[in-house]
């Protein structure tokens, strides 16, 4: 195997003095899928930005096939043969796939853009690497998995030799992930090198050849996957053992907290995205909702906590219909919500940790004095939250946007879990979050429901998480509940996958007592 990329003693210090990377060295070979792992804030993103020419660095050097690289911009990196598949797709929704792929290197005829030629060259390259897509479709009409293919094709058509992929499977279903992996193996065997960034250690074990581990901005080392186990990698990542398996007590049947009857949500296209769903959620249990993204879990979960509307049926929370209630009323009734998009709906990014935590309760008598905010009480409370939830921030007045993803989520969790709620909706609570914080959030969810009798609904794309944390599971497909499991015992990811894809469906009679 020939050495393609060599990173030597890279050090990056941001202008605010934060040392993001310190003395990082590793090599990537051709015909290799090379994993890069580390907790949030370990410096992966910075390192990738450096390799892709988006950030400069103070010390060290990067060599590509022995030649020293001075990358000034992403364009530079692409010219030299380094491409990047971002976590958030860099596509223009209203343009066709072909147009998106040729952007920047557009074919022209008589000085006008030659659309037909663009279609031809893009479908040629798609065929060459066995990508099954129709390049004349607009990007806003295709699935997330297909968008990812478009991103890969964008890099391939520019002749890159190294593909950096930032958490490519975070948005994919198990089947789509499998397909992606098959394609990546084809690329690897054709001589490409792939740098694969992921939090999912089992994927790394399955796909990659070697792994480089970062911790707190430093490189722990590069290891052959064949010599590693998931436990070993996570130990090296965080410097201690993580417990992602939990000992749960058997749950006892408790009273019904939320009673959902014949719920229907209709989207703008007139499609029933939630189709006649009836369900009871009990105190002290965690109900996991399984499904491929876009099968109504989001609409369903947001409707039952009053975050978005529903169009027929009823939702009763402790006997009270929630229709027409404001978010504030619902919160005071005891409904809490960890939203899917923590940047947009979970936090006000420019406000401080303090303001975010008291955002739903600044008006309560506890935090008021003579009609003004009672700083003393607020500060005491917020500092308690910061230490209880181990939020890594400079102080309570630091704007939330300065925190890492995991710590932003901790701010959200601190607010929601201290609200005195009786019901929590947790939407993708650990997506894109480091192993340490993930462990903490999962433990909190379990202790809230099992010790404080909170009814919890967990929506997640991570099947492993659903199986580990939930007490019982339902599977949603095309807006309907297609399967229900009273316990996670004996339920496997493969089995769930079959229901998610519609290979199997339970009948109403089979699920009768389980909802």
């Amino acid at each position: 195997m020939s050495e393609l990329l060599k990173v030597e003693n890279i050090t990056k210090i941001y202008t605010n003095g934060f040392v993001a990377n310190k003395d990082i060295s590793f090599t990537v070979n051709a015909n290799e899928i090379h994993a890069l792992v580390g907790e949030n804030g370990a410096g992966k993103t910075t390192l990738m930005k450096i390799l892709f020419g988006m950030e400069d660095y103070q010390e060290g050097a990067i060599y590509l096939e022995g030649e020293k690289l001075e990358l000034k911009s992403p364009l530079d990196a692409i010219h030299k043969g380094i491409g990047m598949i971002h976590q958030h797709f860099m596509l223009v929704p209203s343009l066709s796939i072909a147009e998106n792929i040729v952007l920047g290197i557009e074919p022209t005829k008589a000085s006008f853009f030659d659309y037909n030629e663009a279609v031809k060259i893009t479908s040629d390259i798609a065929k060459k690497y066995n990508f099954n897509i129709d390049v004349t479709k607009k990007v806003n009409e295709i699935s997330v998995a297909q968008m990812q293919k478009v991103e890969i094709l964008k890099a391939l058509i520019r002749g890159v030799k190294i593909l950096i992929m930032d958490e490519p499977t975070a948005v994919l279903t198990p089947q789509e992930t499998k397909e992606l992996f098959e394609q990546l193996v084809i690329l690897r065997d054709s001589g490409y090198a792939i740098i694969f960034i992921s939090h999912k250690l089992e994927e790394i074990m399955q796909l990659c050849d070697r792994v480089t581990i970062l911790r707190k901005g430093r490189c722990v080392g590069t290891y052959n996957i064949a010599d590693m186990t998931e436990a070993k990698i996570s130990r090296l990542m965080i410097g201690r053992d993580v417990e992602l398996k939990f000992n749960k007590k058997a749950k006892q049947a408790k009273n019904t907290v939320m009673e959902i009857r014949n719920l229907i949500c209709v989207n703008d296209d007139g499609k029933r995205v939630v189709d006649n769903v009836s369900l009871n959620i009990h105190a002290g249990e965690i109900l996991g909702i399984v499904g491929i993204e876009g099968n109504g879990q989001k609409e369903f979960s947001e409707a039952i906590c009053g975050f978005s509307e529903y169009h027929a049926g009823s939702v009763r929370f402790n006997g009270v219909d929630i229709k027409g209630k404001s978010i504030r009323e619902l919160r005071q009734m005891g409904i809490a919500h960890i939203p899917e998009d923590r940047m947009k709906n979970g936090c006000a990014m420019n406000l401080s940790v303090k303001d975010n935590i008291i955002g739903d309760r600044y008006f309560s008598p506890q935090f008021r004095k003579f009609g003004f905010l009672n700083s003393k009480a607020i500060n005491r409370f917020v500092d308690q939250c910061i230490s209880d939830f181990e939020i890594a921030c400079d102080n309570r007045n630091q704007p939330v946007r300065m925190l890492s993803g995991g710590n932003i989520q901790k701010v959200v969790v601190a607010r929601e879990f201290t609200s005195g709620c009786k019901f929590i909706l947790a939407s993708q609570p650990t997506r894109g979050i480091d192993v340490g914080t993930t462990e903490m959030i999962r433990k909190l969810l379990i202790s809230m429901s099992h010790e404080k009798d909170v009814a919890t609904v967990l929506v997640s794309a991570d099947l492993n998480e659903l199986l580990e944390v939930s007490d019982r599971l339902i599977v949603m497909r095309k807006g309907k509940i297609v399967a229900a499991f009273p316990t996670t015992q004996g339920v496997t990811e493969e089995l769930l996958g079959e229901y998610m894809l519609g290979i199997k469906t339970m009948t109403a009679a089979e699920m009768e007592d389980l909802l």
Binding site: I105, F113, H311
Partner: protein
């Protein structure tokens, strides 16, 4: 004047009054497609109007006069993009500043050049862009009066609409502009310089706005007077905003504002006492138009959604999609 002649003259004035608004709207359209709101279009056109007058008088060339108008527009566009993209100033504040500078600056330049603060009318021997009679059509009653005898720049406004459409939808630059406007990160990821595309958009936008300015001072009238744009740049901007960046739509909407303007002028003659009130009509129409358009859009959306929901709940909609 016969009745048909009066109608013809009225229709003629619609085209004449629409011209600067069309240029403004097209200028705004180019930047809008690139994701920028060109609020300085008023200032750009005002500066261009003065530049055209001064250079047509200096060079005694119509072509150079118009060209210098475009150049002045591009120069202002360049200043905005430099301030906004390199100096990282807030775009809207920059544009407001440009408009204020243009108002004061043109008056100051006017005073320095002519010694008067009102107009260049008697001080500068500036030229006029020729008007063209269209053979055959000019002899048709009403239609002839309406379409023939306009300034070259009026005819060119419609050509320009086509050119802008061509630029945005059929060229490489246009593709990149739309990409930058819709998702700058997508542009960055493939090495398209967002700064460069935005700068080019502002330069072109400035040149198109400059044509509008040249029309004002070399065709509409043949002199420069302070604040002669009188809000036409802003009207064009809103014509473009209503139509969400479509060059054809922006042109048609500009015509609508032209009709309002022409109507106001007619009313001004018949009811002189109300002239100042009448002058407000185009602006009132603008606001009402925008409110009504938006209200219709929202209402239609709600009604549509309501229907869709009712259908879906009744179970008649897209049954095959669900199974």
């Amino acid at each position: 004047m016969s009745f048909s002649e009066a109608i013809g003259t009225f229709l003629f004035s619609i085209f004449r009054l629409s011209t600067p608004i069309i240029y403004a709207a097209l200028a705004a359209c180019i930047t809008k497609q690139t994701g920028l709101l060109n609020m300085a279009i008023e200032g750009i056109m005002l500066t261009a109007a003065l530049s055209s007058v001064v250079f047509s008088a200096l060079t005694q060339s119509v072509v150079l006069g118009v060209l210098f108008g475009m150049l002045a527009g591009s120069l202002i566009g360049g200043i905005i993009s430099y301030a906004n993209l390199i100096g990282k100033t807030e775009l809207y504040l920059t544009c407001i500043a440009i408009n204020l500078i243009a108002t004061g600056g043109t008056t100051f330049a006017l005073y320095m050049i002519t010694g008067t603060k009102g107009t260049t009318f008697s001080a500068l021997p500036s030229l006029e862009v020729p008007n063209i009679d269209i053979p055959f059509i000019k002899d048709i009653p009403i239609l002839g009066t309406m379409l023939s005898g306009h300034s070259i720049l009026t005819y060119f406004a419609f050509v320009c609409a086509f050119l802008v459409w061509l630029l945005i939808y059929k060229t490489r630059l246009g593709l990149r502009m739309r990409c930058v406007g819709e998702n700058p990160n997508a542009a960055l990821s493939v090495g398209i310089s967002v700064t460069r595309i935005k700068t080019v958009a502002y330069l072109i936008s400035g040149a198109v706005g400059g044509l509008g300015g040249a029309f004002m001072s070399m065709s509409y009238v043949t002199w420069f007077s302070r604040d002669m744009l009188a809000g036409r740049g802003f009207i064009g901007l809103s014509a473009n905003n209503i139509t969400a960046g479509s060059p054809v739509g922006a042109t048609l909407f500009s015509m609508l504002f032209g009709i309002a303007d022409a109507s106001a002028n007619v009313l001004q003659i018949t009811a002189a006492g109300l002239s100042y009130f009448v002058k407000m009509i185009p602006y009132i129409i603008t606001i009402l138009g925008m409110v009504i358009m938006e209200a219709i859009r929202i209402r239609k959306g709600l009604k549509f959604k309501d229907q869709v929901v009712r259908k879906a709940i009744a179970g008649t909609a897209n049954e095959k999609d669900l199974t």
